[in-house]
Symmetry: C2
């Protein structure tokens, strides 16, 4: 009888299931697993310096490659430190397998509810119950193997997300007969395929009919489509010939299709995207959860002349949508799109030439970078993004942090030809950018990974600047220096009369001198203060070998626009304009020219001279 | 009718209730509260750079002063980032009031269970339910005030701990009639006093009888006694005349009483403390939760000839204790001690002269720093601690991180004359030291705060080195450089044959060059590599003005001893020795001389030459 140590069996299983990288930090409660993973010839153990960064790296790893990474943390603070990364992966439907060490099983025998379990253990199941697909603390050696196999599978099926297997230290060290181990691992290995339904025939035909009748149909493509290969997806959409918006998480699904791509929409949407959204007469959303930044707060004003069909694989997300969304189909988005494509193909091309022409015109009329993005004194982040976008080749992956990096990055960059652009879109936690980019590089070391950060947010994972150096990752990091938390300064402009508190150096919040700091870490440092040098510096930055940081000095009060802002009517009332009427407000004429629906009464009522950016005080 | 904004009312209430400092980070979901706190003339808002650090600072603030601080975080990642600090406060019974911003109330109306609430909201109640005294997401403006008042009170009563009030952004901005606001705040203001019971008369007399009869009684004092003023507590114990141990969290309750102080005990206990613990015939524990590092794993071997009485205010902690602890009394420790003192006083002094003499002898025979703590090549952390302890004056507060700082700090330093020594003892999270020390300084800026860190653990809150500089905190920080995670290296020696994985530079884990890094932050930097210079450098370090960091280079494999370690019997079996038999193992003669009970059969069975440190592989 041959036996195997449970920790070794787990490591071997991970390798066999295609896991290549494990991000982790060792502690006394995961030391057997750490040893097993580190010794395994087919697994690479990547040590970072905070557990939140480990999970965020696994998030970025999956976003880049579609392959899962595992995370290995210890008991107590090891697993509590992981929370923000886990919730971020949960929000973005990113599968991550988290293995946490735990106190020995005998500490659970008494079912005690004291504040700590054993020496440093915490109640992992209760903390993580509502923000993971599954979390379980194992109680015997075979269960460890069953749960690991189940979690690896479950994380990747249906709507994806993180799973936690919490493994007491004695079980890691336990030994099992190899046959017993193998059968424990085999049980849950149903094929790793989406178990999702297609559109019911009735629903499909209702939808196809609507498409046939529509004069101005619009697709809204979401991240749920990512299971389809990029080229296949692009071909489907191109063949279908229907204009489309992308959600921010779906913007890099495939290279924009000239003539069909309508941009992106939302409270920080592109002007063209929002105008086209509001102009369509049929809206079909596919695999996007219609978060508030995307659909706005007032459902009745969304695509107000359109019929809306929603296709999503998560009943809970469908249930959350109000009465404006009456046609909701529980189905796998890639399957649904394939079905729709087949039906439309069978009845011939859609007759929407005028609409297609309008889409092209609006996209031309309303460019992403506008006059308000010019600045003589500072670098404007929008103009910078436009230059960065043009300079970047197809092998570039942009990973953004929050604030300026997120907003101007996603508003301006339109990834094409295999470029990638992502962040932790749902939770939007400051600090994601750096570990997300580290994860992306481990997933594909041939990519040129450009990490877009801000001075405030970078602090949240500052420690892992060292990991970039120690693991010799040729990361290109931009730090937008805007003296603190720029987005919140705009919130303060909107809701507390512009009073500052904890948002800039004048109100108690400073960031370090990044030049000396990042040099001390071992980075090459570049900076940019004058607009006329932008393209040269960007070229130097992108072509630099090894880890390099470019600090971009922008106006500490630069607007992040266009965006939906509370505005003022001629008779002095504050109103929230409809989605097409972003600040800075355009003239009514310009709006009217591009919109295929009548101007909204609220738009007509606005005092367009007095109104200006009132921040994001809409809730 | 005058009205008041809810956020202002909350800020005003905090100030009136004696809160002076609020540690926080702003976001769009707590911006009204941030504004109100920042504007309030009697509140100081301290911005740090990670929410975990904010809660840890509030922990250190309370440990230093016995006064509560508040913490103000935003929705989503703001509150998820706080988890580790909250669990640490929960474990250590430290009251902290955490106010978190949340999405607007209308996002809760549909009772939806989608992965995110509103834009960035998370389910705070479900995450924090089992690691706080109370957590509630408010649904109307009056409830906000009621819950804040209740939480502030509740955190400080009975067994203390953190409370979270989760406040949607619309409620922060809401206005209430001032009378309505005042009555909402008034409701829960029962007097903030322990609602704890005294010892029942029968129990008290049982205990007092046992004391009268005992030849060798021993008290084990815990942190639960801290409600008594230090001097009063010392007088009580001195008057009682019974030798005492302190738990690690209670070591700085009062200046050691010469002749009565028996030291500390446990798996990393002092040798004298453990021998005296095992020698006593009556053990009375007061306000200590008898965690495993304190009592060891094998209850039957603890104080094996003694009757044990346990006094604790938390029934759950009493319930967790096994059958060895038959006399368990639910009572407030300070009250119980006062009662015991009164009864003993009334019947005259205890006749325990021989025992007192033995306590003095054992303390002399078994010093804290031993021959094994000498090192010719590197600085030994124990010898360093001894020098640091002698050089420190009464105005010094030591705040430790984990690993070397924790173990050698708590094993060697014996705070006296008002010196303080604390850490996050229960959860023991790496990274606590720095924010804990920051909190301690804000609680009492007249203290000289010395923060004891290690190269590995400091990384976990590295960002807040900047806060030390920006807030001009004259912190004295020691970094023990031991090439990674020293304690876990010893674990690896014990359980995986010494194989390294993610614990040092040779196995994938490096730390930055701290000299250049901390200079870049703006610290003065000192280092210590040779033992003969220790006392000079320590003097320079302690007398430096402003923020200063001393890096201490120790052997990367230095032992952290004495400690309870798995040892080897003459016939080759591995056994866990009894608590008095710490490694490095003493001779049987030496043990026998100091122990008042017969040698344990396991001690007799050990091969004392072959056995050496086997790490902490006991679980």
């Amino acid at each position: 009888m041959t036996d195997i140590k449970v920790a070794d069996s787990v490591a071997d299983f991970l390798a066999k299931q295609g896991i290549r990288h494990v991000f982790g930090i060792i502690g006394s409660a995961n030391a057997h697993l750490f040893d097993a993973v580190y010794q395994h010839p087919k697994l690479e153990l990547v040590c970072l310096h905070h557990e939140q960064a480990c999970v965020m790296a696994a998030h970025g790893y999956f976003m880049q490659s579609g392959r899962m990474a595992a995370v290995l943390v210890t008991a107590g603070a090891g697993i509590t430190n992981a929370l923000t990364g886990v919730v971020g992966s949960w929000a973005d439907s990113v599968p991550v397998l988290i293995l946490s060490g735990q106190e020995a099983t005998k500490q659970f025998k008494s079912n005690n509810l004291a504040r700590m379990i054993g020496i440093q253990g915490v109640y992992v199941e209760s903390i993580y119950k509502t923000c993971t697909k599954n979390v379980v603390t194992c109680q015997d050696p075979e269960q460890v193997l069953r749960e690991v196999a189940t979690a690896l599978n479950f994380a990747k099926t249906d709507r994806q997300g993180p799973c936690i297997v919490d493994i007491p230290i004695d079980l890691q060290a336990a030994r099992l007969d190899v046959d017993v181990a193998e059968s424990a691992l085999a049980v849950p290995l149903s094929p790793i395929q989406p178990q999702l339904s297609c559109l019911a025939s009735e629903d499909l035909h209702q939808l196809a009919d609507a498409l046939q009748k529509s004069q101005a149909p619009l697709l809204w493509l979401g991240n749920g489509l990512r299971r389809l290969a990029s080229d296949d997806l692009r071909t489907l959409v191109k063949d279908l010939g229907v204009p489309y918006l992308t959600s921010w998480t779906a913007n890099d699904l495939f290279s924009p299709i000239e003539g069909l791509y309508a941009g992106h929409a939302g409270t920080y949407g592109g002007r063209a995207g929002n105008v086209l959204l509001q102009s369509c007469d049929l809206l079909i959303t596919l695999g996007t959860r219609l978060a508030i930044p995307q659909k706005g707060y007032l459902d009745d004003e969304l695509a107000r002349r359109a019929e809306i069909f929603v296709v999503d694989c998560d009943q809970v997300e469908l249930d959350k949508l109000g009465s404006r969304f009456s046609k909701k189909f529980l189905a796998d988005a890639p399957t649904a799109l394939t079905q729709i494509h087949a039906v439309v193909q069978s009845v011939g091309q859609l007759a929407i030439e005028l609409w297609l022409e309008h889409v092209r015109e609006v996209r031309q009329e309303m460019p992403l970078v506008e006059a308000c993005h010019r600045n003589e004194t500072w670098i404007d982040s929008y103009s910078f993004m436009a230059e960065l976008g043009s300079a970047a080749r197809s092998d570039v992956t942009f990973v953004t942090d929050m604030g300026t990096a997120l907003i101007s990055g996603f508003q301006v960059l339109e990834p094409s030809d295999g470029q990638r652009l992502f962040t932790s879109q749902g939770l939007g936690e400051m600090g994601y950018g750096l570990p997300g980019a580290i994860g992306a590089w481990f997933a594909d070391a041939d990519r040129k990974v450009v990490c877009l950060n801000c001075d405030g947010g970078l602090m949240m994972n500052l420690q892992d600047l060292h990991s970039v150096i120690s693991h010799e990752i040729p990361l290109k990091i931009v730090i937008f220096n805007n003296d603190g938390y720029l987005m919140i300064k705009h919130t303060q402009n909107a809701i507390v009369g512009g009073r500052r508190a904890g948002t800039d150096a004048g109100s108690g919040l400073t960031c370090p001198n990044y030049e000396s700091l990042v040099k001390a870490f071992g980075f090459r440092y570049l900076s940019l203060r004058k607009a006329d040098l932008t393209s040269d510096v960007i070229q130097n930055f992108l072509q630099a070998e090894g880890p390099v940081i470019l600090e971009v000095f922008m106006a500490p009060d630069q607007l992040l626009v266009p965006k939906l802002s509370v505005s003022i009517t001629a008779d002095g009332r504050l109103v929230s304009p409809p989605l097409e009427d972003l600040s800075p407000l355009l003239t009514l004429q310009s709006l009217k020219k591009n919109l295929l629906v009548p101007l909204h009464p609220k738009s007509i009522s606005l005092d367009r001279v007095v109104s200006d950016s009132k921040g994001d005080a809409i809730y």
